[in-house]
Structure formats: C-alpha cells, structure tokens
C-alpha cells in the first residue's frame, strides 16, 4: 500500500517536494525534478536558494517563517531552473509535524504555470491595446460626430440660403395668373432650373397697350447664373421704364451695353464671358403686331399647322469678337397663332436610347404635334416628354419654355 502510494506521488504531474528549514530538498518526485530541469532524484540535498534570485529568496524565507508557526500558504514563486529557464510556479505549502506535534519541515505541491502566466500577460497586453484602441475609436467617433454635425449645420445653412435665394428668384418671375392677366391670353411657362436656382429667367411687362416679354438664358447655372439673371431682370426693367418709345432690337442693344459695361469695369473683354442669350417680343394689343429680336435664341410661331422660325441675331448679350446690330422682325399676329420662346435646355437635353441631344428638329416636331392643345395641357405634355427623354440622365442645363396662344 505504502509503495503504491509513493508510486502515485512520484508519477503525478504536480511537483511534490519536502523542504527542511534550511530550505534543502529532502524529497522530490519526478515531476518536481522535471520542472527544475534536474535529472530524476538529483534535487535531493540541493537548496532552494540555488534556484531563486534575491527577491524570490526573501519570499521563500518569509513563507518558511509562516510554516514554522504552523501556517499553510499559497503563493507564486519564480525559479531559475538548472537549464536557466525562468518558470513561474503556483505553490501550495503546508507544515509537516512529527509525532510530538512539532513542525519539522514543509510539504509543497506546485504547478508550472509559466505558460498560463504568459498567456495571461498576452491577454492583459491585448486587453490594454484593445482598450486603448477602443478609446481612440471612441474619440474618433466623437470627432466624426462633431464633424458630421458641423457638415449638417453647413449644409442646412447652405440649403436655407439657397432656398431663400430661390424665394427671391421666383418672386422676380411673373406668376402664371399675372401673365394671363397681362396678356389676356392663354399662356404657359415651363421653368425647370438644373439646380434649386438657375440662370434662366422669363420676363413680362405691360406698358400701356404693349406687352414686352422675354425668355433668357444666362451664362452658367445655379448661383452664378442666378446672379446674372438678377442683373438681366433689373436692366430690362430700367430700360423699359426709362424709354417711352422703343423697339425690340433697341432694348437688346441697350441691355448688351449695360451688361458689357458692368462687367468691363473689372476685367478684359475675353475674360468677360458673362451675359445671356435672350428672345424678346413686344406685342401691341391694339394692332396685334409683334416685334421680335433675339440674341442667339429664336422665336417659333405655329400658324395653320406650319412652324416658322424667326432667327435670332448670332450675337449674345455679352462681349463678342464681332459685334452685330440686333435685327428685329415684325410679325402680324392672327387668331390661333401659337408662339414659343425658350432657352436651349430642352433641345440640348441628353437622353433617349443612345444618349443623344433631344435636338432642335425633334423639339419643333413635338411643338407641332401638341400646339392645338390648351396651354396647361401643352405644359404637361412638354414636361412629360422632357422627363421621359432625360430618363436616368442628369439635367444638362436650366430649361424654360414659354408658350402663348393668340386667341
């Protein structure tokens, strides 16, 4: 029985030693020898001092003093083995008594927990890194949140500003009821800027028995176009208010002079591309005579199912290398004439199956097809045609079409 017990003790995975109060090994099982990197049986008579540094030695002495007064203990001990490996042991030690109840030595059971400790260290380092990273991420998230809020604030500010600009721009464009009242005719305006605000504008003013109206397309679109459109509307008002007798070509050349003068103050000619293309008409309500002048933008009249194009002068309301006088066309209007002023946004729209320009030709054909409908219907049909041609494509430019039925 005794032998069997000793065999178990010898072969256990845990190291078991008995150490006297001089810290000499008086018993060591094979696992203990293995942990200390000592051949089996060779730990006997060696002292623990050979395997520990000063710091750990103090710990050992401190522990032994507890054994002497009968206290058990559990502690970590770092040893330098016979092969100079540093190992961490978890030691459970108990005092051993003789028959008369005196403490004679220490029995200690220990495990090599070096690997556990290393794992633990690694885990701890990993945890630390993770916590650091988490902290950084948290800070970044806070920063991103601040930036996002700033961006949202800027965007809101920008949108508020643009939307207010839109309110201003639209308030300078005559309303449909205003147009109908002024003309006493059926009118539609399809006005679709590429962005919230745009460089297209339409204009109508009544002077006694005459109506002056126009559709213009300013250079640029968005904010830049809208700024020039403000100038266009202001200058047209100035010109028309200050001149008692006028004709369409005269209005355009006065407008060109003002635009050129305004921009010339601050740059050379060619840098001043700023300006507009425009189609402008004056109708005498007494005589039904219409006068038309265009700067690049023509006028279409449909009469008896035939479309006539009144060509514009090939000059913009802006600086141009070869300046021409604007021509004016005089046209007698008849009942059921339908006429259209427009910017090039409709005909230039990319789309269709092969992503082509809508084209002037198609635009004329479409107007011919719909010109007999009432004006509200025509507007709807044009809008539908535009949207279906555009499909998934971006809108190329600001787009305006004004139609009038002379009934």
């Amino acid at each position: 029985m005794e032998d069997k017990f000793q065999k178990i003790v010898r072969d256990l995975g845990e190291g078991i030693v008995i150490v006297n109060f001089k810290e000499e090994f008086i018993f060591a099982n094979s696992s203990a020898c293995k942990i200390f990197d000592v051949p089996n049986g060779k730990l006997i008579n060696k002292t623990l001092k050979d395997f520990v540094d000063d710091e750990e030695w103090k710990k050992v002495l401190n522990q032994t003093s507890k054994r002497k007064i009968g206290e058990p203990g559990k502690y970590h001990l770092e040893i330098n083995t016979n092969n100079h490996n540093k190992k961490m042991l978890l030691v459970t030690a108990k005092p051993e008594y003789n028959e008369s109840g005196e403490v004679i030595d220490t029995v200690a059971v220990f495990f090599d927990i070096t690997e556990n400790i290393n794992e633990h260290k690694k885990l701890k380092e990993f945890n630390q890194q993770f916590e650091e990273l988490e902290g950084q991420l948290f800070e970044q998230a806070i920063e991103a949140d601040i930036r996002k809020k700033e961006a949202e604030k800027l965007l809101k500010h920008f949108n508020d500003s643009i939307n207010y600009a839109k309110t201003i721009q639209y308030s300078l464009l005559p309303s449909l009821s205003h147009l109908n009242k002024m003309l006493t005719k059926d009118v539609f305006v399809l006005y679709k800027p590429k962005h919230t605000i745009g460089g297209d504008f339409y204009y109508m003013k009544r002077r006694d028995d005459s109506i002056i109206f126009a559709v213009a397309d300013c250079t640029g679109h968005g904010v830049s176009g809208a700024l020039i459109s403000m100038l266009g509307i202001t200058f047209l008002n100035d010109i028309i208010d200050q001149n008692l007798l006028f004709n369409s070509s005269e209005i355009l050349s006065k407008l060109r002079k003002k635009i050129k003068h305004t921009f010339k103050e601050y740059g050379n000619d060619f840098q001043n591309k700023n300006g507009m293309d425009i189609a402008l008409c004056i109708i005498s309500l007494k005589t039904n005579m219409m006068q038309f002048s265009g700067a690049f933008n023509p006028l279409y009249i449909i009469r008896n199912n035939e479309l006539t194009e009144y060509k514009a002068t090939k000059n913009p309301i802006a600086y141009y290398p070869v300046e021409k006088e604007f021509e004016s066309h005089n046209i007698q209007l008849f009942k059921n004439d339908t006429f259209y002023l427009f910017s090039d946004g409709f005909q230039d729209q990319l789309g269709g199956e092969s992503e082509k320009k809508y084209s002037k030709k198609k635009f004329r054909e479409f107007l011919l097809k719909i010109h007999k409908e009432d004006m509200t219907e025509q507007k709807k049909l044009l809008e539908k045609e535009f949207v279906s041609w555009q499909s998934e494509n971006d809108q190329v430019d600001d787009m305006t079409v004004m139609g009038v039925k002379w009934d």
Partner: protein, 121 residues
C-alpha cells in the same frame, strides 16, 4: 495635356510633338471654364514651339454657353497664329443633322478669317 471623355467633359488631346489639338465630346461640366483656360494657356505656350503643321480636330455635341465663348477664344487665338504665318489644318466634325454644331461652324467661319473643313459623321 490629355483628358479622357466623361459624360460632361470632352476628350482632350494636346500634343506638341504631333502638332495636334483634339477636343471631342460633350462640354458642359461645372468646371469647364477652368478646363478651357488650361487649353488656351497650353496653346499660347506651345503653338509657337511647334515645328510641323498644326492639326486641329473638333467634334462637339453639347456646348454650354461658357464652352461656346471659350471656343470663340480658341478660334480667335488660332486666327492670330494663322495671320502670323503658322500653317494649320482645321477639321470640324458634327453628328449628322446636328443643326447647332453645323450652324456654329458657319458662325465661326463668319467671325474669323480661317479655312476649315466641316465633316458630318
């Protein structure tokens, strides 16, 4: 200077060695004015250095008004160089039945003393 075509910017190929200026495609991006400013600067710097006959090829479809005005500046510059004796060949391509682009060729030939060929494709 070389730039690939995008949905709103033309293909641009400017070569000093080949004495070539090619601008082809749509021209209506938001930054198109800056692109033409670069082209015009390149022309001013490089055309005087060219040793061979200058070949210009243009093929537009959509030109916004800013591009239109820049194009006039390009032709104005070409006619200046032509008057100074620079030999050049200009080809103006247009899509078949593209009225605007064909009309623009007429306008340009009216405005500047330059010989150029119009080819409908």
């Amino acid at each position: 200077m070389k730039q690939n075509k995008t949905k709103n910017k033309p293909f641009i190929n400017l070569s000093l060695n080949l004495c070539k200026i090619e601008i082809k495609g749509p021209s209506y991006s938001e930054d198109i004015d800056d692109i033409y400013a670069e082209i015009i600067k390149w022309m001013q710097d490089n055309i005087p250095k060219m040793k061979c006959e200058l070949i210009c090829e243009f093929h537009f479809n959509i030109l916004n008004s800013i591009s239109h005005k820049n194009l006039l500046q390009i032709f104005s510059l070409l006619s200046e160089f032509s008057e100074k004796g620079k030999k050049m060949k200009i080809v103006w391509y247009a899509d078949k039945n593209d009225e605007d682009i064909l009309e623009l060729a007429d306008d340009i030939s009216e405005l500047f003393n330059l010989q150029f060929k119009v080819v409908e494709k």
